[in-house]
Symmetry: C2
Subunit: 311 residues, 2 copies
């Protein structure tokens, strides 16, 4: 299977690229604006194209699947809606239209986001709820979901939009992401240092390890298309946990006392990332997508990726 992956140098993208190459079954083309020398080496079996996914004719010859992860992230999109419109809406639509015009019917796997759901969530988020994105990033992702569903209906592509929750743990480096603390807590506690959690112990988040996220993308490559809902978009079944439970589990596995963590509540962060209700991801589960299973597994997977020396 010939697969084109955009955003391949990013956090999820680079893990996904390595998983695709590890199967030894795929011909993989990786796109991102820039690859480090380490990445080019790690991606040895793949063709790495450095540049915009909008520039090159990246779907030129006989591609079977397009995995589109490249995007202007949430904070940057909010700061620059025009840039988000250009990349997350315009260039993304153009890419999918190129895919639709291909001689063979492409499977298009699109990294959407739970941000399409918005902030005023009901006690249980169900597949039937209306999207009400509260930021420009989620708005453009929701618009693309609609366009993909229509292209799928017209039979020109096979569309899978996967709405990602917070994926863990990102590398310990300034990312500009407001949710970075949800990854940092892994790195800092693994390094045996003290951590200040900016949400309350009762705050509830939706989490998924990058390991599980990659497994879900891999599943989308071969999943039975007829099991997807008409909207062609599913909210992935994230694990919902409180910050207290998360910290207790990380401390247990890193043999730290829970007193290594103090809580200094940031009301805005708590509102944005700490008030996630129950999630009934029925449609996604019907296709075969899953969360990490339990918190111990999520934490164990997360800790495998911590960089103790970086802290």
């Amino acid at each position: 299977v010939k697969i084109v992956l955009t955003g391949a140098a990013g956090f999820v993208g680079s893990h996904l690229a390595q998983a695709l190459l590890a199967t030894g079954e795929h011909q993989v083309v990786l796109i991102d604006q820039h690859f480090t020398a380490e990445q080019r080496q790690a991606f040895g079996g793949a063709k790495c194209l450095a540049g915009s996914f909008a520039d090159a004719d990246i779907l030129a010859d006989g591609v079977d699947a397009l995995m589109h992860l490249a995007a202007v992230p949430g904070g940057a999109a909010e700061a620059n809606p025009q840039l988000s419109k250009q990349v997350n809406l315009g260039a993304t639509l153009a890419l999918f239209e190129t895919a639709a015009a291909a001689a063979t019917k492409l499977r298009v796997i699109y990294a959407s986001t739970v941000a399409v759901l918005g902030e005023d969530l009901p006690p249980t988020v169900k597949d039937s709820m209306a999207n009400a994105p509260g930021m420009t990033y989620g708005t453009h992702k929701a618009m693309i979901e609609l366009a993909l569903a229509d292209m799928h209906r017209r039979g020109v592509i096979e569309a899978f939009s996967l709405r990602l929750p917070g994926i863990l743990p990102r590398p310990f480096a300034p990312s500009g992401l407001k949710s970075a603390f949800l990854s940092d807590v892994f790195h800092v506690l693994a390094a045996g240092k003290e951590f200040v959690m900016p949400m309350s112990a009762q705050a509830t988040s939706w989490l998924m390890s990058v390991h599980q996220c990659v497994a879900n993308f891999m599943l989308a490559l071969t999943a039975d298309s007829s099991l997807m809902p008409k909207s062609r978009a599913v909210t992935l079944p994230a694990l919902r946990c409180t910050m207290g439970d998360l910290i207790e589990q990380i401390c247990a596995q890193t043999e730290q006392p829970t007193t290594a963590v103090s809580y200094e509540l940031d009301a805005l962060l708590e509102q944005q990332f700490g008030a996630l209700p129950k999630l009934a991801a029925t449609a996604a589960e019907a296709v075969g997508f899953s969360h990490d299973g339990d918190l111990a597994t999520l934490v164990s997977r997360g800790l495998q990726l911590t960089e103790r020396s970086a802290v």
Copy 2:
């Protein structure tokens, strides 16, 4: 108030243009690809710009409100998704961004459609239901609704998306619209001729007179913006009636026997236009939007616009 109206030569647009001019309170700029000599005369008090709404700098000086009705209609959009993407999505977004860049905050009133809701409707359509457009036209309208909600949230425009049901009666002329029979029944019975209804007597549709539709657009000009939902989109409160009741009422008011109508069911039309469930248009009603009140009023308003000689 200075108002720019696109699609002003169209069915709803031309009625709305005349209503705006009749108030004597507004400075009105009308845009459409072509105006007939009769229209230019009827719109005597307005500036008529013939051309694409995408071409001219139609929001140049000090516009207060933009009423955007111009669109590639449903059937044409379905036949040519690229054209719909260009006009109903791309040019429409560009127009709204020009509005957003204006020195004063514009009120943008957008003609959306119940087609955003899709075809698999629940027993009662409520404001909380998720959009699931089943055609390209509704898809692009739903995408624009999302973009408008985001622009409103960012404070750069004041957005009102009004989802229109079937509007009656269109002129008795080949329109290419599959729903034309819902208008033709008025013209044909008013002319004392026999009519073949392509849906069953039990079929249920959502209807609104063009008189009522214009009243709702006029209301949007002055409505309290804070009463609109966060989505900035409302499904207008259409009158729901069976074809049997509609025909009985038209026959009563035109003094025709109901035997003037025979039923020849077209299963596809029945599915598309004759299976509309109950509609709870609570959000729209909270702002002040309304339907025709009762079927007798809707029919009476419709018959005022029939062209007996044209049949």
